[in-house]
Symmetry: C2
Subunit: 215 residues, 2 copies
């Protein structure tokens, strides 16, 4: 059992949180306010191992923190979580720096020579950032068996032990073919998969698909 | 038999050119100068259906033009080919706007809210630009059977008939699972696959791989 924080109360946060509860972990869902309705509701329907609080409460309670906030507010959410509550811990970053404000398709607010994953790692130097899962619909994140062929999962980060721990956790989600792309700068490539992912979603008429690397 | 121009005398141009010759097409390889050594050598070793000349000679001779120049010089090469020689024709754009001048990994000189494919289409409005093959090593471009599972090929462009014609040509290369991503703006996603492609090449230790979309 791990103590895990989920930052964010959207679909991604709820889906990941519920999966972690089902696997026997203690999960606190964090948001801006102490009494976020969505977090309360999620907590109520997930039993005694589920709790909720502020971003800071959640981060303080946890060994592993999942950033499930929208990429546009991730840095702010992490600041609210508090440097002292994040220090030395593993931060799993699922977010994409997508800007929908100018309509579809969204653009990336950080890309090419930088990425959100790298920005978080630079701003929180004593946190072990692990980027993964960002190119999947949240139902697939926690249940790769929904696909006939689940395909590959990408992971990157600077700390090998943190990656190993998250790799093991992802295997309990059902992921088998996990490709370690190296240090956190691989976030650039992983986040830049979003434009073709969004286009594929339109072409295929579904968000239930994944990339597989074939050789 | 089609009359096809190859712009560029590098590995990509030679590989595509040789494949097209083997399929019975007439191929002229174009370069900056009339007597480029590489183009002469390629032409000599590819029989009577192979010829060479300037970018303009090659474009003038062809129904279909393959842009096999490096992305950094593609626009210049197309200007040298001449608007009048390209007009109304199909331009297959394989290039990626990669800048290696600041070392590895390269960055993209155009990305996110624009792409090389779109830039070419904007600058040459009466050319039918079809973007495809840009995420593959050139040996795989012309021989997908080198992979146990060839995976998918992406294609995009504004002109449905031009895409249909190139789709048919690519099938003669051996490509079966071709995904039409829509209009030329899909070039953004296709070109932004390069950062993760380059990272994967390092991780896998080979450039003989491809993306497959699994459902």
């Amino acid at each position: 059992m791990k103590n895990i924080a989920i930052l964010g109360t959207g679909m991604v946060g709820k889906t990941i949180g519920t999966k972690l509860i089902s696997l026997g972990h203690a999960v606190m869902m964090g948001s801006r306010t102490e009494n976020n309705e969505k977090a309360q509701e999620w907590s109520k329907s997930n039993g005694s191992m589920a709790s909720y609080g502020t971003f800071a409460d959640a981060a303080a309670s946890a060994d592993i923190i999942f950033n499930c906030t929208s990429g546009q507010v991730s840095l702010e959410a992490l600041q609210l979580a508090g440097r002292e509550n994040l220090q030395g811990k593993i931060l799993v970053d699922l977010a994409n720096p997508l800007d929908f404000s100018k309509g579809m398709p969204p653009s990336l607010t950080i890309c090419n020579t930088d990425s959100l994953g790298e920005t978080i790692q630079r701003q929180f130097t004593d946190v072990k950032v692990v980027k993964t899962l960002n190119t999947l619909n949240c139902e697939l994140m926690v249940d790769p068996g929904l696909l006939n062929d689940p395909g590959n999962l990408f992971i990157c980060g600077n700390d090998p032990e943190a990656k190993f721990e998250i790799d093991s956790l992802l295997k309990t989600f059902g992921w088998e073919k996990i490709i370690d792309l190296g240090d956190i700068s691989a976030s650039r490539g992983m986040e830049q998969l979003l434009p073709v992912w969004i286009r594929l979603m339109g072409t295929l008429g579904t968000n239930k698909f994944n990339f597989s690397i074939v050789k």
